[in-house]
C-alpha cells in the first residue's frame, strides 16, 4: 500500500513538472496555432538563467524566479517580433523556423557558457522530506506541485478574468473581427508568446535542482510537452493539466509494474491508442479557425 502511495506521489511530481513545461506550449499553440519547437530551449534558457543568477548574485532559485521569467519572456518576445510574426500565414515554415531557433539558442549557450553540466543549488529551506505514515514526500517536489497549481490558476485567471485575456480570447475566435474592434492582434500575439516562453523559463529554473543543466536538456523535454498538449487537446489549459496528471501517473504506474524503460514504451503506446480514438485529444477546444 505504501509503495502505491509513494508511486502516486512520484506520478504527481512528474505531472507537475510536465504541466509547467507544457503550459506555455499549450498557450502558444492554442492562441496562435504556432507549433513552437524551440520551447525546450526556452526551458533550457530558464535553467541557465537560474544558474547565472545564482552563481553571480548568490540568489536562491526561488527568489530568482521572477527575474528568470522576465529574462526568458524577453527572449521569447524578441523572437516573436523578429521571426515568428512574419510567418503566421505559413504554419509549416514556423515549425522549421522555431526548430532552427532552437538549434541557434542551444549552440549559443554551448559557445558562451560551455557544454559541461552546471551545478545549481536547491533552496535550503525545502530540503528534506515530509513523512506521513509510509508516504515519504520530498519537500522540494511538494513545492513544485503546489507552484505548478498556482501557475495553472494564475494562467486561468489571466485568460478569463483580465482585459488582456478577453482580448486574447477574442483574437483566438476571430482575428479580423477583433481587429475591427480596435484590438491590436499583433501585440496580443507578442505578449502571449512572451508569456508562454516565460512560463517555460520558470519550469527550467524549477527543475535545475533535480535534473542536469546542460545545453541539450530541452530536446527531450519538448517531446514530453508535446505529448501533454496532444493528449490534452490543442490549446486547452484544462486539457493540458489533466493530460499532465494522466501521463505522469501512467508513467509512474507502468514504471512500478515493469521498469522505467518499459514504462515509457507503455505510455507512448497508450497515447497512440488514445489519439486513435480521440484524435483531437481529451478536451478539444471548439473554436473555429
Amino acid at each position: 500500500m505504501d509503495a502505491i502511495l509513494n508511486q502516486i506521489f512520484a506520478g504527481l511530481s512528474m505531472a507537475s513538472i510536465l504541466l509547467m513545461i507544457a503550459l506555455g506550449l499549450a498557450i502558444i499553440y492554442g492562441a496562435m496555432g504556432v507549433i513552437n519547437l524551440a520551447h525546450g530551449e526556452f526551458v533550457m534558457l530558464g535553467a541557465y538563467a537560474a544558474w547565472a543568477i545564482q552563481t553571480y548574485t548568490g540568489m536562491s532559485i526561488i527568489m530568482a524566479l521572477p527575474f528568470v521569467f522576465v529574462a526568458v519572456a524577453l527572449v521569447g518576445w524578441l523572437i516573436e517580433k523578429i521571426i515568428v510574426q512574419r510567418l503566421y500565414h505559413r504554419p509549416l515554415d514556423t515549425i522549421l523556423a522555431t526548430w532552427g531557433i532552437g538549434i541557434i539558442l542551444q549552440q549559443t549557450v554551448r559557445l558562451l557558457v560551455g557544454a559541461e553540466s552546471r551545478f545549481v543549488k536547491g533552496p535550503e529551506f525545502l530540503s528534506g522530506n515530509t513523512q506521513i505514515g509510509g508516504l515519504i514526500m520530498s519537500n522540494y517536489r511538494l513545492f513544485v506541485i503546489f507552484f505548478s497549481l498556482a501557475v495553472l490558476a494564475g494562467t486561468w485567471a489571466l485568460m478569463t478574468r483580465t482585459e488582456f485575456g478577453m482580448k486574447l480570447r477574442a483574437v483566438i475566435q476571430n482575428r479580423q473581427i477583433s481587429e475591427c474592434y480596435g484590438i491590436e492582434a499583433k501585440n496580443i500575439y507578442s505578449v502571449t508568446f512572451a508569456y508562454g516562453a516565460g512560463l517555460a523559463g520558470i519550469a527550467g529554473a524549477l527543475i535545475t535542482p533535480l535534473f542536469s543543466t546542460i545545453p541539450t536538456m530541452g530536446t527531450g523535454l519538448v517531446v514530453d510537452a508535446f505529448l501533454v498538449v496532444i493528449v490534452g487537446g490543442l490549446g486547452s489549459i484544462l486539457g493540458a493539466a489533466s493530460a499532465a496528471v494522466l501521463i505522469g501517473e501512467a508513467t509512474a504506474l507502468f514504471s512500478m509494474l515493469f521498469n522505467d524503460t518499459l514504462g515509457r514504451i507503455a505510455v507512448l503506446a497508450g497515447i497512440i491508442v488514445l489519439i486513435r480514438f480521440r484524435p483531437r485529444g481529451l478536451f478539444p477546444s471548439n473554436t473555429r479557425r
Partner: protein
C-alpha cells in the same frame, strides 16, 4: 516511379561514386612516418553530445603531445597532431578515422569515449592495419589487434570492489544502469562475483540513456532496502540520479551508491553535498598522490583553468601518448609503422599518474584499481588502494574465452 525521381536518384548515385573515387585511388599508400615529423591523429568530439567529456580527453592528449614536443620530440622528430572533430556521431568517427589514416598517413590515432564510436572506428582501423588508442574504461569482450585499450575492463574495476562492498555494507545489491551494452556487461560480471562471494541481486534495472526522473527508481530502492546501489548510470542521467537520491535523503552511510562511471566531471555537476559519502571504483582519482599526478594536475590546471578537473579517462588519454612515445623510442626512426609501434608497445611500463602501468600482450593495460569515497569538496578520498597491479581480462565473465597476444582464443 516518376521520371524526375528516377533521374534525381541516378544523379545522386553519380555524385556519390565520384566523391568516393579519390579515396579508392589512395588505397595503395600505407600509413608510415616520413620526413621530419610523425603524424598523429586526434579523434575526439569537440561538438555534440559527448563533447563534454571528449573535449577534456582531447585537451589531455594534446597537452601530452605538446609536452613531448617541447622536450625535443622523439628521435629528434616532432609529433604532428592532426585534429578532427567527429561531432559525436559514430558514422563521422569512421569517416574521419579513414581520413586520418589514409590521407594524413597517421601512424596512430587517439580517440573516442563511447564504445559506439570505438566500434565504428574498429573496421577502418583493422582494414588499414593502423593503431587506435582508446583511453576509456569499457565493458571488455573485445580483442582487436589494432586497438590499444588504456582504460579498465570489468575485472579491474570489480574484483576488489565487490568483496569489499559485501564486507562493509552487506550482500544485497540493487543494480541500476543505463540501457546499453556497458551496464549490462558490468552487471553480468558483477553477478558472477556476487555468486562467488555470497551476495545477491535484489533488483536489476535499466533506464533509457538521458533518463532524468528517478522518482520511481528511488521509491523502489526505498521499498527494497538494499545494502548497496551498484550504479552504472552515465553522464546526465547520473547527475540527475545523484541529485534526486540526495533530495530523497537516502543515507550514504547505510545505502551507498557505488558507481563504476562517476568521476570528478559528474561530481562537479552533482554538487559536493549530494555526492559526498558515495563511492566510485576507478584506477585514478584527481587526488591520487604520486609525483606524476601532481605534475599532471598542475600543468592541466595551468593550461585549462584552475576550476578544471582531471578524471580517470583524461588520465589515460594523457599517459597513452607517453606509452606511444616510449614505443616509438624503441623503433628505428627510418621505419615507423603502426604494426611495429604495436609490437614495441607490448611490455612497456610507464609511471602514469595512477602508478606504474604496463601494456599487456593483449593490448589492454595493467592498472591500479582504487576505491574512492567522494567528499563534499568534490574530490575523492581513496579508501582502498589495490596492493598489486591488476591484469586486464576482457573476457573475465566468459568462461573458455581469453584475449591473448594472438587475439581471441577459445577453450
Amino acid at each position: 516511379m516518376k521520371r524526375r525521381d528516377f533521374l534525381g536518384g541516378v544523379s545522386a548515385a553519380g555524385v556519390a561514386s565520384a566523391l568516393s573515387a579519390p579515396a579508392l585511388l589512395t588505397v595503395a599508400g600505407r600509413a608510415a612516418a616520413q620526413g621530419n615529423d610523425i603524424p598523429v591523429g586526434l579523434l575526439f568530439s569537440l561538438t555534440g553530445a559527448v563533447a563534454v567529456v571528449e573535449s577534456t580527453l582531447h585537451d589531455a592528449a594534446l597537452m601530452a603531445i605538446e609536452e613531448i614536443n617541447a622536450a625535443g620530440g622523439v628521435h629528434g622528430m616532432q609529433l604532428r597532431p592532426i585534429i578532427e572533430d567527429p561531432a559525436s556521431d559514430p558514422a563521422t568517427y569512421a569517416d574521419r578515422a579513414r581520413r586520418l589514416m589514409i590521407r594524413d598517413k597517421c601512424v596512430s590515432v587517439f580517440g573516442s569515449y563511447t564504445s559506439a564510436s570505438r566500434q565504428a572506428v574498429l573496421p577502418v582501423t583493422e582494414q588499414r592495419n593502423n593503431l587506435y588508442w582508446y583511453p576509456t574504461l569499457y565493458e571488455g569482450r573485445e580483442c582487436s589487434r589494432n586497438v590499444m585499450y588504456g582504460g579498465a575492463v570489468p575485472n579491474q574495476q570489480q574484483d576488489e570492489l565487490i568483496p569489499w562492498a559485501i564486507e562493509n555494507f552487506g550482500p544485497r545489491f540493487y543494480m541500476i544502469g543505463n540501457n546499453y551494452v556497458y551496464p549490462k556487461e558490468e552487471n553480468n560480471y558483477c553477478k558472477t562475483l556476487l555468486a562467488k562471494y555470497g551476495g545477491e541481486v535484489v533488483h536489476e534495472e535499466y533506464v533509457p540513456l538521458g533518463h532524468s526522473d528517478f522518482s520511481s527508481v528511488i521509491n523502489r530502492i526505498r521499498a527494497e532496502g538494499p545494502n548497496v546501489i551498484f550504479a552504472t548510470v552515465v553522464g546526465d542521467s547520473d547527475v540527475a540520479f545523484a541529485r534526486q537520491y540526495h533530495a530523497a535523503e537516502l543515507d550514504p552511510a547505510k545505502m551507498p551508491v557505488i558507481s563504476l562511471t562517476r568521476s570528478e566531471v559528474e561530481v562537479k555537476a552533482i554538487g559536493g553535498d549530494a555526492a559526498a559519502g558515495h563511492f566510485s571504483s576507478a584506477p585514478y582519482f584527481m587526488g591520487t598522490q604520486t609525483p606524476e599526478n601532481e605534475r599532471f594536475v598542475e600543468s592541466y590546471k595551468a593550461r585549462f583553468g584552475g576550476d578544471q578537473v582531471t578524471h580517470f579517462v583524461s588520465e589515460a588519454a594523457y599517459f597513452q601518448v607517453y606509452q606511444f612515445k616510449a614505443a616509438l623510442e624503441k623503433l628505428d626512426p627510418a621505419n615507423i609503422t603502426p604494426e611495429l609501434i604495436r609490437d614495441a608497445a607490448v611490455g612497456i611500463t610507464l609511471n602514469a599518474p595512477q602508478g606504474e602501468v604496463l601494456i599487456d600482450e593483449n593490448l589492454h593495460t595493467h592498472l591500479w584499481p582504487k576505491i574512492g569515497q567522494w567528499q563534499s569538496n568534490g574530490q575523492a578520498e581513496v579508501v582502498v588502494q589495490s596492493s598489486n597491479r591488476v591484469a586486464p581480462l576482457p573476457y573475465a565473465a566468459y568462461e573458455g574465452q581469453r584475449c591473448t597476444g594472438q587475439g581471441l582464443v577459445e577453450g
